[in-house]
């Protein structure tokens, strides 16, 4: 890389820029001189001897000219690299350490591919990218400003890391202390800014040249998009952005290879197929296995081939909600009856296979039948870190296939087909008939359960969910947030059968995810004309409400329905438990756990950010018309918020 020189304005330039600038400066001096002469009088005057200053200009050594332009900054090349990968969006809060990249994106890059998505918090930027990936399957960039922006973003990066969601964060920094101009530059710089995120990113780098940047950017992209899918971080040094592209630099951009996800060893697949075919009661458990339409199709094919119950843990859309083999609501019955349990990208397999007693039970008991076998397929086996304990309790499997679940399924399906004999096919059909007979009863029971408290106010979560479903069912919809705090009613009673209809929630269970992730997912759904719906908890909303403004600003259609129980309800319950166990008053446990006095007016919050909103709705009879208005707005391309006052869960 050519050396660059810093000048007093803080801009830097190389030798070519200096010479070009010097010429421009001289021309400016001449021009000024001429203009000055024209203004001094209307009458021609005799030639005057040159002044001392003029003599100095003519005869002295050339003065150092301050160069104030850099027309080919390094950040232009960075934009070339970003564009080469087809990245559609760059989500960021504006940043001084990324200002040159920012300017190159919007001017040199034309603010297209990627388009700048303005966020009001770095946590929102990363969560937005997380939600966007889960719908689009594409990687979004998130810009983080130095030490402070990276610390703001840390929670969302951890959520994405636990969620097996690839996101690339670009971290501004000024590594060269000599280039730091103010105390703020020092506060916002680090000798190793990526260290802030290193324990929960898959890879990071701090390029010191443009060629280094190009290579590392493509490497980062490839690393993030190769299962196990995870966030990566790339430091974007401010002087590197702002300095001109050296003349000697060939601007080469490394090419991105076709990425082939890791598939399990064929011998292990054959062995597993043998076990599955021989099993009398195989059960499939999936957390984050299906991430595409093809993955969902494979899940269904394997389950039907084996007539095996599936427990979908609802971190992705792994299995159709109304399939007769969906045992998500009957998980314990399925596991206790199983002689083989196959875990596919399972988050906490141990908890699936064990029963916990009271709180802080350190001796959970296995609920597996004696002799039952456990097998796992997970790409997470290929990449484990130590500090954060997201790897969960050791599940003690009989066989562990370190591979991507979705990519391995087609090979496993073929092997199962090959090994299924006529005898085993009859056994499979027999158990399938049994499950098919049980399914309508299970669905009817769920409907009966949903009917209790139907007319309650605050409104029951089942009523909220089913009033919404009644209006959505004819639309091409996408539920873009978690349902766990709603007792999972949508996944129990809605007909959810497409991969984009549910994307799970917060990977690391850290709040601040919902609103921005929903906006990111809705952004991805927009081009398909899908109706994005977010049933949004109030506590989570208050961490990142600014995402509503982002939706309004970028005209992202999204229907947000508040699950407003006016509390951090789980904590009300947990603190209440402590009071009970300590034999002290329970009625004081609303202190520090509720969001009342005053009640928060979410409709007004939305309105203040340019999003139409209504509520609070407390009478369940008012839900349907409000939802109809919300859907109409979203179909017009607008975000809309309905505040619904709800039961705790």
């Amino acid at each position: 890389m050519a050396k660059t020189s810093k000048i007093s304005t803080g801009l830097s330039t190389g030798r070519r820029g200096f010479l070009k600038g010097a010429a421009a400066g001289a021309a400016a001096l001449v021009g000024t001189s001429t203009a000055g002469a024209q203004q001094t009088g209307s009458q021609p005057r005799a030639a005057q001897p040159p002044s001392a200053a003029q003599r100095a200009v003519e005869t002295g050594p050339p003065a150092a000219v301050e160069v104030q332009t850099t027309e080919r900054p390094g950040s232009d090349y960075m934009v070339d690299v970003i564009k080469s990968l087809g990245i559609e969006y760059y989500a960021a809060n504006p940043s001084s350490t990324l200002k040159s990249l920012h300017e190159s994106l919007i001017n040199y890059g034309g603010n297209q591919n990627p388009e700048f998505i303005t966020c009001t918090h770095e946590e929102a930027s990363v969560a937005l990218a997380n939600g966007y990936y889960k719908i689009s399957g594409k990687l979004m960039l998130a810009g983080l400003h130095g030490t402070v922006g990276s610390q703001h973003a840390a929670m969302a990066v951890y959520n994405a890391y636990c969620d097996q969601a690839p996101v690339m964060v670009v971290m501004g920094n000024i590594l060269d202390a000599g280039a730091r101009r103010s105390y703020v530059d020092w506060l916002h710089s680090s000798q190793d800014v990526a260290a802030i995120l290193r324990e929960y990113t898959k890879w990071d780098d701090s390029p010191v040249s443009l060629s280094h940047f190009g290579e590392s950017f493509v490497r980062a992209y490839k690393t993030a998009m190769t299962p196990p899918l995870m966030p990566v971080a790339l430091v974007c040094d401010e002087p590197l952005q702002e300095s001109p592209v050296p003349a000697s630099f060939d601007r080469r951009i490394p090419k991105l290879p076709v990425i082939s996800p890791p598939v399990a060893d064929p011998n292990a697949i054959a062995q597993l197929a043998k076990m599955l075919v021989a099993a009398e009661s195989p059960v499939l458990v999936a957390s984050r296995c299906a991430r595409t339409a093809a993955g969902l199709k494979s899940m269904v094919e394997l389950a039907e081939l084996l007539q095996a119950p599936v427990i979908d843990q609802h971190f992705r859309m792994n299995f159709p909600s109304r399939h007769a083999l969906n045992f998500s609501d009957r998980a314990r019955a399925a596991i206790t009856n199983a002689d083989l349990v196959l875990g596919l990208e399972v988050m906490d397999f141990y908890a699936v296979l064990h029963a916990y007693g009271r709180e802080r039970d350190s001796n959970p008991r296995s609920i597996l039948k004696s002799g039952a076998k456990v097998v796992t397929i997970s790409a997470l086996d290929l990449f484990t870190k130590s500090v954060y304990q997201n790897f969960q309790r050791f599940e003690d499997p009989d066989m562990a296939l370190a591979a991507d679940g979705e990519a391995t399924l087609p090979f496993l399906i073929e092997e199962v087909k090959r090994q299924l004999t006529a005898d085993r096919k009859r056994a499979v059909e027999t158990r399938g008939a049994k499950y098919a007979q049980a399914w309508p009863k299970a669905l009817e029971q769920a409907r009966v359960d949903a009917s209790y408290g139907w007319d309650a106010s605050p409104i029951s979560t089942s009523r909220l969910s089913m009033e919404l479903w009644a209006q959505l069912k004819g639309e091409d919809w996408s539920l873009v947030n978690d349902t766990v705090f709603l007792q999972n009613w949508p996944l129990r009673l809605w007909d959810v059968n497409k991969h984009y209809q549910f994307i799970g929630g917060r990977g690391g269970e850290g709040l601040g995810y919902g609103p921005p992730a929903a906006v990111g997912a809705a952004l991805a759904n927009k081009k398909f004309g899908r109706l994005s719906v977010n049933i949004q908890g109030d506590g989570d909303f208050m961490y990142c409400p600014g995402a509503m403004w982002t939706a309004a600003h970028h005209k992202i259609p999204l229907l947000t329905v508040m699950h407003n129980n006016r509390a951090y309800n789980q904590e009300v319950m947990l603190v209440g438990r402590m009071a009970s166990e300590h034999n002290r008053p329970v009625d004081r446990c609303t202190i520090g756990t509720t969001l009342v006095e005053p009640n928060i007016d979410y409709a007004k919050m939305a309105q203040g950010m340019g999003v139409n909103g209504e509520g609070p709705i407390t009478d369940p009879k008012n839900l349907a018309p409000a939802i109809q208005r919300g859907i109409a707005a979203a179909k017009r391309g607008e975000p809309y918020l309905i505040d619904v006052v709800t039961q705790g869960r």
């Binding site: 009271r358 709180e359 009817e444 409907r447 009966v448 359960d449 949903a450 009917s451 209790y452 408290g453 139907w454 309650a456 605050p458 029951s460 979560t461 009523r463 089913m466 009033e467 479903w469 009644a470 069912k473 007792q487 009673l493 509390a567 309800n569 789980q570 009300v572 319950m573 209440g576 438990r577 009071a579 009970s580 166990e581 034999n583 002290r584 008053p585 329970v586 009625d587 446990c589 039961q647 705790g648 869960r649």
Partner: protein
């Protein structure tokens, strides 16, 4: 006369006991909300994070026994609520009507 008095006292006593065991539903609702029961079980005892309690709640004696020494994830309530208050809670839960049949709730039939 003594026999009549004893009989009258017995009737009064039975009446008081019946009133006590029936409980006060209005107070029961207040106790149910104030002590956080509704946070897990729902304001109508319809269930949520906790089990469904209404309609058809357990008998007061069984409810009291369970609340003092619960199993599973239910926390124990030893002295935060009196037996009389729990009887009131039971009375409140007994007032919760059964939901309409599912077939009569259109949103549940989609």
């Amino acid at each position: 006369m003594k026999i009549l008095l004893a009989a009258a006292l017995a009737v009064i006593s039975i009446g008081i006991c019946t009133a006590q065991s029936a409980g006060n539903p209005e107070n029961g609702k207040l106790v149910f909300i104030k002590n956080g029961c509704a946070r897990c079980h729902g304001t109508q005892g319809q269930g949520g994070a906790g089990a469904r309690l209404a309609p058809n709640p357990p008998a007061a004696a069984a409810l009291i026994k369970y609340v003092r020494n619960p199993s599973g994830s239910m926390p124990p309530y030893k002295n935060q609520v009196t037996d009389a208050e729990l009887t009131d809670v039971r009375a409140y839960l007994a007032t919760v009507p059964a939901p309409p049949p599912v077939k009569d709730i259109p949103p549940l039939n989609n």
